[in-house]
């Protein structure tokens, strides 16, 4: 799998970074404007999937190695749980013990911003991993695989 034509590759190089920036904006401003960790994470994953579709697997894995995606996937889920446990210091699981800050500022609303970032890491890297696993799975034809299994 060597990717698509040079036109697609060039446009992808231009666009991919902007997609990541837009996804980061959706994540970081999730408590102020529409969006949030899930949508932003999927957008960031889409940028890397675009790279994988246009350039092939090796280029995408050079930008985001599989190991790093695994680590981000697990640590995102763990970070979500840990932020929930921080609330226990105030009395309840997931209690919003961080300072709530001024309304309509970026650094406001306590634990919502870190939770959004944790979800974004988790969702983005895990969807990228699923797509990578499917791409590896599809490298051989499905029928050849089944025949190999049967023989």
């Amino acid at each position: 799998m060597n990717g698509m034509t040079i036109i697609v590759k060039t446009i992808t190089d231009f666009v991919a970074a902007f997609i990541v920036v837009f996804g980061a904006y959706i994540v970081l401003y999730g408590h102020l404007t529409p969006g949030g960790g899930f949508a932003g994470g999927v957008i960031i994953a889409c940028a890397f999937i675009l790279l994988m579709l246009a350039h092939g697997r090796d280029v995408a894995f050079a930008r985001l190695p599989e190991k790093a995606a695994h680590i981000m996937d697990s640590s995102g889920a763990l970070a979500f749980l840990l932020i929930g446990w921080v609330g226990v210091t105030g009395g309840f699981f997931f209690l919003n013990v961080f300072g709530r800050g001024d309304m309509f500022r970026l650094l406001s609303s306590g634990m919502i911003l870190p939770l959004n970032i944790a979800i974004a890491f988790k969702v983005g890297s895990s969807l990228f991993l699923v797509f990578a696993a499917l791409a590896m799975f599809r490298r051989r034809s499905f029928r050849a695989m089944i025949e190999e299994e049967l023989s």
Binding site: A39, R100, M103, G110, L115
Partner: protein
């Protein structure tokens, strides 16, 4: 809020037609594209109803699912589907559809549907009224899913984590052992 019923009904008819095409078509690729058309129409419907959060998520997930499904479909050797319909399944779905209509008539028949934007549940009124002062998050949706109901979101994250681990375990290449190798060990 202006009257958005005509737009919503147009989208609804489009979605119904798309769903029927997706179920009835013989070509797998056409079915995938029809399902995606329904999803995109749903995201436009969410925009009309004033729910940009859900519209963004729906749109983005729809794009990703479309890419994955088309990649999965065009690499198959045989994309035509043989549908042989099970009578029992048809009867069961008709019965469930009738039950759905019946219970809907029981619940909404006497009182009519609630007004648009007037939630049935009392708990959501509290969220809408105290969302901004209690959490200082301008986006009410985020304040509900990550503050009032963060515990639910933890469950959602766990489901996603488990499903990704399952998918990777099933599709991985490293560490797979053939049956005869297991027998020889």
């Amino acid at each position: 809020m202006e009257n958005i019923a005509p737009q919503l009904y147009t989208l609804l008819v489009f979605m119904v037609i798309g769903s029927i095409v997706a179920v009835e078509t013989k070509n797998l690729l056409s079915a995938v594209i029809s399902v995606s058309a329904v999803g995109f129409a749903l995201s436009v419907a969410f925009l009309f109803m004033g729910a940009p959060d859900i519209a963004i998520t729906q749109l983005v997930v729809e794009v990703l699912v479309l890419i994955i499904l088309i990649r999965g479909t065009i690499l198959l050797d045989n994309t035509a589907v043989e549908t042989h319909r099970d009578t029992l399944a048809v009867v069961a779905s008709l019965i469930f559809f009738g039950l759905l209509l019946g219970f809907g008539a029981m619940i909404f028949g006497s009182k009519g549907f609630p007004e648009f934007g007037e939630p049935l549940m009392r708990v959501s009124r509290v969220y809408v009224q105290t969302g901004l002062p209690a959490t200082h998050a301008a986006n009410i949706v985020t304040s509900v899913i990550l503050d009032f109901r963060a515990y639910d979101t933890l469950g959602e994250v766990t489901v996603l984590f488990t499903s990704v681990i399952g998918a990777l375990a099933l599709l991985r290449k490293d560490g797979k052992v053939r049956e005869e190798e297991v027998a020889s060990v």
